[in-house]
């Protein structure tokens, strides 16, 4: 055999060996699941932060201890591929039993098509809370937010889909050494004016004291809105309440009222409260590094951990990673919004905002086609029990989502402040209004920015975007209604035939859901017709 043939044979052998190894690996994994006595529950998430995977692992092992014959497998998927991975798994019918709520799972259609609503089970106590203070509490009420909002409760489908593990609150993380050096003390700002005073001190004295340029706040496209939106919403508290008819009747408020008020020119973007909201946004932006709008979260974190910024606003989930990256001691304080007494911005506010609506997150959805649905649901109950949530919080360094869980001292400043007023509305009401505002934000937040320039630039584009978003909302309502209608028709038949015991109850539920959806839809259609626009695109 000559040299060339030998080389070819070696190459072919190597290729065959690699292929055989790959096949073995794939089939051995599949074989584990084919074992008739073993039930494998798989759950997938994109939380690769330190500690979180370990926490989930610990919970999985605890479950396996009390359920021999069940294997719980964790799948950690990188965040940037998670949307594509999830969609592929769902479309291919190979999705794991539990999937973390993420960017690609949240559309109404996807939720309705692929995930099991959990509403029917959340009214009963969680059996894994036996022996605790939550023994008799309905599962839903064991969570800090009662699963009343996004991402767990879908307000269009009126069903609960997600079971959370953590709650996220926003805080300012600050460099304690730097703070001490620049301000001369450790007293944290309690009011908005005190906060601005600290920012001014950093600007005036930061470079002189430290020998290098220091900005007050490390901003980025994702970090800046943590502060600016909070401040904006605070300024429009009274306006929001006014447009809700000073009425608490809808949990998340009725933003359609605002949209149509703007389109009918009953509410102008030049309204004093809205101008004030944008002004405070502009002011906050001046204390971030130049050009922060083009930066990513990693750039802001880099700026902060390198000691080039005094503070950064981010979620409680970043505690562990910031603490591990920063070579200095980190402190925490809440975003100080103006109170009623504030001489400049107090006019339009009721007071500090409640964090009772802080959404519980890290939620898992139950795959509708799961082969072990009941087991997966049971694992979900176990994972979200008080004991296991305490384990999760301890190991991950994240906040717990379940009430009554003791929190580590260093995490206590992150616990949601329940007492407070309902915050105002966000500055955008759909994909197109968000785009128009995003495109023009540089006129507000840039070094030469001003509220007037920004509002003048929004102009006609904003109205057109508002029409487009209103049409999208109507279409979504219509599509959701169609989906419910088909389910209703089926349950009506089943109820008539007494084929399914719970069918009559389901019919009642669906009728109620449809009434709510139709009220929203018909209201939207009427408003658009009166404005002379097609109700839907």
């Amino acid at each position: 055999m000559n040299r060339e043939k030998i080389m070819n044979l070696i190459g072919l052998t190597l290729l065959a060996a690699c292929f055989a190894m790959a096949l073995t690996r794939v089939f051995s994994r599949t074989a584990t699941h084919l074992g008739s006595d073993v039930v494998t529950i798989r759950f997938a998430h994109y939380q690769l932060e330190s500690g979180v995977r370990g926490a989930f692992d610990a919970i999985a092992r605890e479950y396996e201890k009390i359920h021999p014959g069940v294997v719980v497998e964790q799948m950690s998927i990188p965040e940037n591929v998670y949307p594509t991975w999830t969609v592929t798994q769902l479309a291919g019918g190979t999705a794991p039993d539990l999937i973390e709520y993420g960017p690609s799972t949240g559309s109404d259609e996807r939720l309705a098509r692929y995930f099991q609503p959990l509403t029917e089970w959340v009214g009963s106590p969680n059996p894994y809370n036996k022996g605790t203070s939550l023994e008799k509490t309905p599962w839903r009420q064991t969570f800090l937010d009662g699963l009343t909002g996004w991402p767990n409760y879908n307000t269009n489908l009126l069903e609960i889909y997600g079971m959370p593990n953590t709650v996220v609150t926003i805080r300012f993380f600050y460099n304690r050494d730097l703070y001490r050096k620049i301000t001369g003390n450790e007293t944290l700002p309690r009011t908005y004016q005190e906060f601005i005073e600290v920012c001014r001190k950093v600007e005036q004295d930061g470079e002189r004291i430290t020998g290098h340029k220091v900005v007050p706040i490390a901003g980025s496209k994702s970090n800046a809105p943590r502060i600016t939106e909070s401040l904006f919403c605070g300024q429009v508290q009274k306006l929001w309440a006014q447009y809700q008819g000073d009425d608490l009747r809808q949990a998340n408020g009725n933003e359609a009222v605002l949209r149509f008020a703007v389109l009918k020119h009953k509410l102008s973007l030049y309204d004093p409260a809205i101008q004030s909201a944008y002004q405070i946004t502009h002011d906050a932006g001046q204390y971030m590094q130049p050009g922060f709008m083009q930066l990513n979260r990693e750039d802001a974190v880099f700026t902060f951990t390198q000691g080039n910024a005094l503070m950064i606003a981010t979620g409680s989930y970043d505690t562990v990673s910031l603490t591990s990256q920063a070579p200095f001691e980190i402190g925490v304080f809440p975003v100080p919004s103006p109170t009623r007494d504030d001489p400049v911005y107090g006019k339009f506010v009721f007071g500090p905002a409640t964090e009772a609506g802080a959404p519980t997150q890290g939620s898992f959805l139950l795959y509708m086609e799961s082969k072990h649905k009941q087991q997966a649901l049971d694992f979900l109950r176990f994972m979200t029990s008080q004991k296991m949530n305490a384990l999760f919080a301890a190991k991950s360094g994240w906040l717990p989502a379940v009430i009554g869980v003791d929190v580590d001292e260093k995490m206590k400043p992150f616990m949601p402040e329940m007492d407070g007023y309902i915050n105002g509305f966000r500055p955008y009401w759909g994909a197109d209004t968000y785009r128009v505002i995003d495109n023009n934000q540089y006129l507000l937040l840039g070094s030469d920015g001003s509220v007037k320039k920004f509002l003048d630039a929004l102009g006609k584009d904003f109205d057109a975007a508002l029409v487009s978003d209103s049409q999208s909302v109507n279409k979504t309502s219509r599509n959701n209604l169609l989906r419910q209608d088909i389910a209703l028709a089926s349950y009506m038949q089943l109820s008539r035939q007494n084929a399914v015991p719970a069918a009559a109850k389901k019919v009642s539920e669906l009728n109620e859901i449809e009434t709510k959806l139709e009220l929203d839809l018909d209201d939207g259609i009427l408003e658009m017709n009166e404005l002379g626009f097609p109700p839907m695109k």
């Binding site: 259609e109 130049p290 083009q294 994909a431 495109n439 934000q441 030469d448």
Partner: protein
């Protein structure tokens, strides 16, 4: 002209055609099927899942009145012209390498050109994003060091009147509306595409030495050699590059998406048709409309390619 094969002869070893089947299946599945699906869904109100409503030409009628789309074509027009100009450095470099006397040096320059290709395109994009960083980016540091910043301030003050260049304030390349298109043009400096250079080099190397000898005898200088000999003889490659460039620029949005986000950045200045298609699909959930946008884009690309084929002639 090649001799034609009779059908009988062609089908004599019909089993050999079976070897084509896997490739055809893959091409059909991963290239033709998605395109066919896009054409199909462009006639629907489709949110990307199973549910779809047949709406006929409604999406196409909407495209005609889509202000953002037509504005994005203005941006893409500027980028196409800029990219055509950016072909020049590659051509010049290919000529310079070709004219090197030593084959050994030609080889080493080719290796030096190819080496950066090991860096994935995405990494290069992120590195450039860092270059544009107002506070730490190399672009601003170079401008400060060379005095270019002072020139820009003077230009802004006396001529441009944009009010965006100030002493002591870092230039916000990607968060200032007027600077977005220049940033997209500057990206990739010095605009030497490895593949382009290699393609042109291959073309230049097909020019026989006798052509150069004849030119020397006629007293032709270097520049004239380039204009009358080298450029015409690599026009096939240039035309190919032009076609690929036009298609790539019209379709492309990865650069804009990474640098500016799905909304096209400050003032929407970086919005290009491909990015608008992405925005409609993934930000607004209007997948059917995005397919219609894709079809319109396809027609544009086809039209420009046909124009290119007709008017950019290669004189043999």
């Amino acid at each position: 002209m090649p001799a034609t094969l009779s059908p009988r002869k062609a089908l004599h070893e019909w089993q050999l055609y079976l070897f084509l089947v896997p490739s055809l299946v893959l091409v059909a599945t991963f290239m033709y099927f998605p395109a066919a699906s896009a054409i199909y869904h462009s006639f629907f109100d489709w949110q990307g899942g199973d549910a779809a409503r047949f709406t006929g030409l409604a999406n196409y009628r909407r495209v005609l009145n889509d202000v953002v789309l037509w504005r994005s074509f203005e941006t893409i027009g500027i980028l196409i012209i800029a990219n055509i100009i950016k072909l020049i450095p590659s051509i010049l470099l290919a000529v310079l390498i070709h004219r090197l006397g030593s084959e050994k040096w030609q080889y080493w320059y080719r290796v030096l050109l190819v080496l950066p290709m090991i860096v994935p395109g995405l990494v290069r994009l992120f590195i450039w994003k860092f270059f544009f960083d107002p506070n730490f980016g190399i672009l601003n540091k170079v401008l400060d060091f060379t005095g270019g910043k002072t020139l820009l301030i003077a230009l802004d003050h006396h001529f441009l009147r944009w009010g965006i260049f100030h002493a002591g304030v870092p230039v916000p390349w990607l968060s200032e509306s007027h600077l977005i298109v220049p940033s997209l043009i500057i990206w990739g400096f010095p605009w030497i595409g490895t593949v382009g250079v290699l393609i042109y080099l291959a073309g230049l190397q097909s020019i026989g030495t006798e052509v150069y000898e004849a030119a020397d005898l006629d007293g032709v200088n270097s520049f004239q050699k380039f204009i009358h000999i080298e450029l015409p003889l690599i026009m096939t490659q240039v035309r190919l590059s032009l076609v690929l460039l036009i298609i790539g620029t019209l379709q492309g949005f990865g650069l804009q998406f990474l640098l500016l986000g799905a909304n096209g950045g400050a003032g929407g200045s970086g919005m290009v048709p491909g990015l608008w298609m992405f925005n409609r699909a993934f930000s607004a959930g209007e997948f059917g409309y995005a397919c219609a946008l894709g079809m319109v884009l396809f027609i544009f690309i086809l039209a420009l390619t046909l124009l290119n084929n007709k008017y950019v002639r290669v004189e043999k």
